[in-house]
């Protein structure tokens, strides 16, 4: 095989045994790679009703056929497991250099199962695989852990994926971090790793990634390079990072502020791409083979390094990564904080403690709403949780990572926190996962995209604002359902290649990537085949969720979005007409009115033999 390595590494932490297995060519063709193949393995091997934090749940790291090649942004790997935040199947994507390194070591997939009896870390050096004792650095942050692992192994070139204190303490939105600042961020995959007593996975691969048709591959590679080099989207991302998006969402009243009570944030221009560049940017940074380099490397001023409440000493003078659009929103607009330095500090804390900044900020925002209502009072929290309080944001982020004081409540996520305090209405999310930075009242399509996303609210399964603000009317539900379903199939196929979804916005569409995949694998796929692969993956995830006990009722949005329009701004008075989008969505997917894939649809996708 070319493109794929055709091998997976299975590590059982309970017994300490490891095995290398072949991945059948049929599975590679049917699911393409990364998220697709991993979903298939999870479906085959894990009971969907399993407790996500039990040893029976499995943690799958998966690369795609293009991961490790020089195709721009071929840096990605997917973490697939049952998510502790949602109780649904999840797939968290990360860049950096770890995924390509796993591929160079010779594996498409790494399946981690069972639970280690004591804190451990895994070393994969090509075909040498060892489980080692991690007691010495259990408790350390992600940055120190990476340094520690390299020192302990005496291998400066290993790439490390690890969890921080949040993953160890089973914070429900803990991440798996790699290359210090890159995150497989959402749904709590880090908590699953923590539940397995696995602190880190160090990988060194000295092998190669082969392509089937070298000449055609290099031709499609250079074509893509030229397409992206001159693309205005690429140039914008390089210069301003993803936070450039904030100008778009603010302009359309789709930038949620103060826990989704407003659709615009008055101080947005202190958090957007231009502000970050002008105030704190040191340089931009790329993942493996990435020609965009949207990563923001920032440094705090000396005075900023001193103020703001933290309890755990750290060196704030070093440069680190962040913020990007999602964090500038979640740790900024959503909590009402306009202080860029506070956003940067909270972001760095999330990276080092290993937490998803989207869920972190959104949970603090929900808590701030409850504090405002008097449901949470000063006896419960050490810092007043007022909207706009930089001190509250930074200290609560830290406290959540260590589960200290009220941080222990926040660590459960805003849905469980709301329910525990008797106010479930403050949860702004879907399937237990907090919304990212797009208000569906500004962009209707995001409503159905959030509600139907298999891993809970997500902006990467279908990102609608670009088209909705140029070609469509952002406030109508008409036509949005079927279109979002098609977009979900496309992005899923894109994910399955092992390519960053940002190539789509920077000149390298899924269609442009198709010849690269064909040349790399030697399999004669068409664009329709890609969309079918996307649909197959999506439907299999849906089947997993249905067997896990999720129903049509979980394809929902909070009442605030359905009934309360914004009082001002471009989207004033607009509410989300979810029902008008959901039924056409189901119909277009070939699902029943209750959102269950029909036998005909499953036969069409070759999923009829899967257990249901």
């Amino acid at each position: 095989m070319a493109g794929w390595t055709g091998k997976l590494l299975r590590v059982n932490l309970t017994t300490g045994s490891t095995a290398v297995e072949q991945i059948s060519e049929a599975v590679c063709r049917d699911y393409l790679g990364a998220r697709g193949i991993a979903v298939r393995y999870l479906y085959d091997e894990v009971d969907p009703r399993v407790d996500p934090l039990a040893p029976e749940n499995k943690l799958i790291f998966a690369t795609g056929p293009l991961t490790g090649t020089p195709i721009p942004c071929a840096a990605r790997y997917m973490v697939v497991t049952k998510g502790p935040l949602t109780g649904a199947i999840t797939s968290s994507n990360s860049g950096g250099h770890w995924g390509p390194e796993l591929k160079m070591a010779g594996y498409d997939l790494l399946i981690v199962e069972g639970r280690a009896s004591s804190p451990s870390y895994l070393l994969i050096y090509d075909d040498q695989v060892e489980l080692r004792d991690a007691t010495a650095f259990w408790g350390e942050g992600v940055f120190a852990t990476e340094d520690h692992v390299r020192r302990a192994l005496g291998l400066p070139d290993v790439r490390v994926a690890s969890i921080g204190p949040a993953g160890e303490r089973l914070v429900r939105f803990a991440c798996i971090m790699n290359d210090k600042h890159r995150a497989a961020g959402r749904s709590g995959v880090g908590a699953v790793m923590g539940s397995k007593n696995l602190k880190a996975i160090a990988v060194r691969g000295t092998g190669q990634v082969r392509v089937a048709n070298a000449h055609a591959f290099m031709q499609s590679y250079w074509k893509l390079r030229h397409l992206m080099q001159d693309n205005p989207g690429r140039i914008g991302f390089t210069k301003y990072g993803t936070a450039a998006t904030m100008d778009l969402t603010q302009a359309h009243g789709g930038l949620p502020a103060h826990n989704f009570r407003e659709g615009q944030f008055e101080h947005y221009d202190n958090l957007d791409g231009k502000a970050i560049r002008a105030q704190r940017l040191v340089t931009n940074k790329a993942c493996y083979a990435c020609t965009i380099a949207c990563g923001r490397v920032t440094r705090l001023s000396e005075s900023a390094a001193r103020h703001l409440v933290t309890m755990h000493p750290r060196n704030w003078q070093v440069a680190a990564e962040g913020p990007e659009y999602e964090t500038a929103w979640s740790l900024g607009a959503d909590v009402g904080v306009a202080d860029l330095d506070a956003v940067i500090k909270a972001h760095w804390l999330c990276n080092d403690l290993g937490m998803d900044p989207i869920s972190m900020g959104a949970t603090v925002a929900a808590a701030m709403e409850l504090y405002e209502q008097g449901v949470i009072d000063d006896t419960q929290v050490e810092v007043p949780l007022r909207f706009g309080s930089a001190d509250a944001l930074v200290r609560m982020t830290e406290a959540t990572g260590y589960r200290e004081g009220f941080g222990d409540v926040l660590a459960e996520g805003s849905k469980r926190m709301g329910e525990a305090l008797g106010h479930p209405e403050v949860f702004m999310g879907s399937k237990g996962q907090e919304f990212p930075a797009y208000d569906p009242r500004g962009f209707q399509g995001m409503g159905v995209a959030y509600a139907t996303s298999n891993r809970g609210a997500c902006h990467l399964r279908a990102w609608t604002p670009g088209i909705e603000t140029t070609i469509m009317d952002p406030h109508t539900p008409v036509g949005k359902g079927p279109w979002v379903a098609d977009e979900q199939n496309r992005t899923t196929a894109h994910d399955n290649m092992g390519i960053c979804s940002f190539t789509g916005a920077t000149g390298g569409s899924t269609e442009d990537l198709l010849p690269c995949v064909v040349a790399a694998t030697g399999v004669d796929l068409t664009y329709d085949d890609l969309l079918t692969i996307g649909a197959r993956t999506w439907n299999l995830e849906r089947l997993f969720n249905l067997r896990a006990g999720l129903t049509r009722a979980d394809d929902s949005l909070p009442r605030r979005l359905l009934e309360e329009g914004h009082k001002s701004g471009p989207a004033a008075g607009v509410t989300v007409n979810l029902e008008a989008m959901l039924q056409p969505y189901y119909a277009h997917r070939g699902w029943t009115a209750d959102g269950v894939p029909t036998p005909e649809k499953l036969t069409e996708l070759g999923l009829d033999a899967m257990p249901k």
Binding site: T69, P70, Q208, V209, Q229, T291, Q317, A319, A320
Partner: protein
């Protein structure tokens, strides 16, 4: 003056396209461990730079080689290694002041940048023009400015006491 690789570290984003292009030209596969240019990342200093042979005018590797396996290419001026004559003694890798002569994992022989016969692949593949093929003085003068910059960053990062 001959043309050599001139590195502009402040333009490097650390994407490693150069490593992949080099490995492709040298081996026909995508295998960064076989690349003769290596991107070094100084995370906390926020600085990245690819290192490759600067083709020193007075090449220590060439002088140290006991089998005369290193010679000057008459067209490009690159210091090249005759793999057939190399016995894998590592002397060249030890004397290189820039650490840019490598030992290949499989053969055990030395390998270094040969400027791809005058059309360096790393230069063509760099998306930010951080590697340029220009006339230089042959001592890697780009390195001095960059090392000063990294050093300055390092000093700035030292936490200062609150009183100062």
């Amino acid at each position: 003056m001959v043309k050599q690789l001139q590195i502009v570290p402040r333009q490097c984003t650390g994407c490693r396209q150069c490593e992949l292009a080099c490995a492709w030209v040298q081996t026909g596969t995508f295998q960064p461990t076989h690349s003769l240019i290596r991107v070094h990342v100084f995370d906390e200093e926020a600085s990245y730079a690819p290192y490759a042979c600067v083709q020193c005018a007075e090449a220590w590797c060439m002088n140290a080689c006991p089998t005369n396996a290193i010679f000057t290419d008459p067209t490009t001026g690159a210091k090249r290694i005759d793999a057939g004559a190399c016995v894998g003694c590592h002397l060249c890798t030890l004397v290189c002041p820039y650490g840019t002569v490598f030992t290949l994992p499989q053969s055990g022989t030395a390998a270094k940048c040969d400027l791809c016969g005058g059309r360096p692949a790393c230069v063509a593949s760099c998306p930010t023009d951080a590697i340029q093929y220009t006339e230089t003085d042959g001592t890697g003068s780009w390195f001095d400015e960059w090392s000063r910059q990294v050093q300055t960053c390092r000093l700035a990062m030292q936490p200062k006491s609150v009183d100062s």
